[in-house]
Amino acid sequence: MWGMNTKQAINLLAVVVVILWLIPVIWVAINSIKPTNIINAPIPTFYSFTPTVEHYIEIFDRFQFDRAIFNSLVTVGVSTLIVMILALPAAYAVARMGLMRGDTWALVILSLRFMPGVVIVLPYFKMANWLGIHDTQILLIIVYVAFGLPFAVWILRGFLLDLPKEVEEAGRLDGLGWIQIIFRLILPMAAPGIAVTTIFTFVFSWNEYLFALFLTTSKATTMPVALQKTIDIYNVLWGSLSAGAMIQLLPMVIVVFLLQRHIARGLALGAVK
């Protein structure tokens, strides 16, 4: 067909599928710089308009998006850091220290990730009211640690199991103590795994909505909740929504781009190990 062999045709098909798949994301990007009157016009357009930054200005002016960005960065950043500090030793213990029933420990920890958010959020909601920490960043950090930790241990464990069995042995023969083995051999070798786990933990909390919805009202509101405020029954600001969505999406897209290869591998490792 048109001088293509089967192989080229399949390659072309792959490219077409991926591009079609991304239309909604492209659509957000385009709408975020489209003038309002063209967004609301009955005939959608991909290109015939003069780009504008009005929505990006409006999302900060009207919806305090600067505060939402700050809250997201603080809660997600701090909770991710805590998760990694707790997850690394735990994953190392279940993966490489010959712990009895290491697999079982890992499974028990992972099973906590399967809890529905609606079960867990209620105690936190009540606790927050007693302690008077409703609508604070501390509260969200605590919840995100609880929810990020199980999955982090699970993925890290996959990466650590994938390292050659002889690493510790070789280190010991070279006269290293176990602290040195961990810091000088294991950590550098597991660096891609650590990066991927950090990204996963970060992204889950970055996009998290249910807890943020329950546990914040205005002061500690994160981006997903702030984003939803661009929409109410009387007033749908598609432009502001798209601008806010872009601000939330872009950092994730960049990071995922850089780490794509390791991300899929990391999940597959967690699955089979």
Partner: protein, 322 residues
């Protein structure tokens, strides 16, 4: 690696297990260290996750109005009885299970085909994969709201493409009770098929070249190659992906809430959103009871899956990943 003399001496304990009774001591010490490394994470999880779970369980036997906490008291199984007597509860369970079965099936089948499509040597394959994984990492809120915009009946992109591009009738998408759930399914599949595809792809690419080569020499190719060689080899990966997707589909909240809030009517009122509406009405005990039922349902599925997975996994473990 280079090790200075001083460092070597620091860790001399590890080098000295020459006498037999020392080997046991070292192993015991290592186990102790292992538990010490594990302890902080387990402790944090017990306090932050397990305790709230117990709390929720207790709450599910109480009546506890959100706006009047002083009258809270135990009422035994009443919350559960109220749920079982409620038609809407059963409808939400049915909807949730249908939803999970349909979206996971579509995502697995479609994801497998796309993984096959991407499992090839071509220039720019890495770029394609990086682009394809984007939907997984974008916020369901941002994209859910954007999809709402795309599905606007009058001026939305979807109807415009149907109408102008293909000359078809405009559809009502989210605004009609018969099409709302299907529309939600489309969005969920858009977001999660790439997740399935890329994990399956990683599994496929871990199959050793010798196996692929042997298959080629035996003229096993095309459809047979995938059904006879690839699928059995990556079975553990497939099972875990199904498990993760199944659990997440049953728990679905974000997309469901921002796109339809369970409506129109109760056409898309799935478990978590239904539970949230109970919360908004202030019935905390009832909310906890329903949450617990969702938890039990998920646990039944997880245990059944892990059982079947670990029975065969040891035998069928992918050699190359070890």
């Amino acid at each position: 690696m280079t090790v200075t003399h001083g460092e070597a001496r620091l860790s001399s304990t590890a080098r000295r297990p020459s006498r037999p009774h020392r080997a046991g001591a070292v192993a015991r010490r290592q186990r102790l260290v292992a538990y010490m490394l594990l302890a902080p994470a387990v402790l944090v999880l017990v306090v932050l996750a397990a305790y709230p779970l117990v709390f929720s369980g207790v709450l599910s036997f109480k009546v506890d109005p959100l706006y009047n906490p002083d009258v809270a008291h135990f009422i035994g199984w009443r919350n559960y009885e109220d749920l079982f007597d409620n038609k809407r509860f059963w409808k939400s369970v049915r909807l949730t299970l249908t939803w999970a079965a349909v979206v996971v099936t579509i995502q697995m089948v479609l994801g497998f085909f796309i993984a096959v499509l991407l499992d090839r040597q071509m220039r720019g394959a890495g770029l394609l994969r990086a682009l394809f994984i984007i939907p997984v990492f974008v916020s369901p809120i941002a994209m859910g709201l954007t999809w709402r915009f795309i599905f606007e009946p009058v001026s939305g992109l979807a109807n415009w493409i149907l109408n102008t591009g293909f000359g078809l009738e405009k559809l009502s998408w989210l605004s009609h009770k018969d099409s709302a759930l299907t529309t939600l399914m489309i969005v969920d599949c858009w977001q999660w098929t790439p997740f399935v595809a890329l994990i399956l792809l990683a599994g496929m690419q871990s199959i050793s070249p010798e196996i692929t080569e042997a298959a080629r020499l035996d003229r096993v190719r095309g459809f047979t190659y995938y059904t006879r060689i690839v699928i059995p080899l990556i079975r553990p990966v497939i099972m875990v992906v199904i498990l993760i997707r199944l659990v997440d589909s049953i728990r679905i909240f974000d997309l469901n809430w921002v796109m339809t809030e369970g409506g129109p009517g109760s056409a898309t009122l799935m478990a978590s959103v239904y539970d949230y509406t109970i919360f908004k009405q202030g019935h905390l005990g009832l909310m906890a009871a329903y949450g617990f039922l969702i938890l039990i349902l998920i646990n039944i599925i997880v245990v059944a899956f892990l059982n079947s997975l670990y029975r065969t996994e040891k035998a069928a473990r992918i050699a190359e990943l070890n």
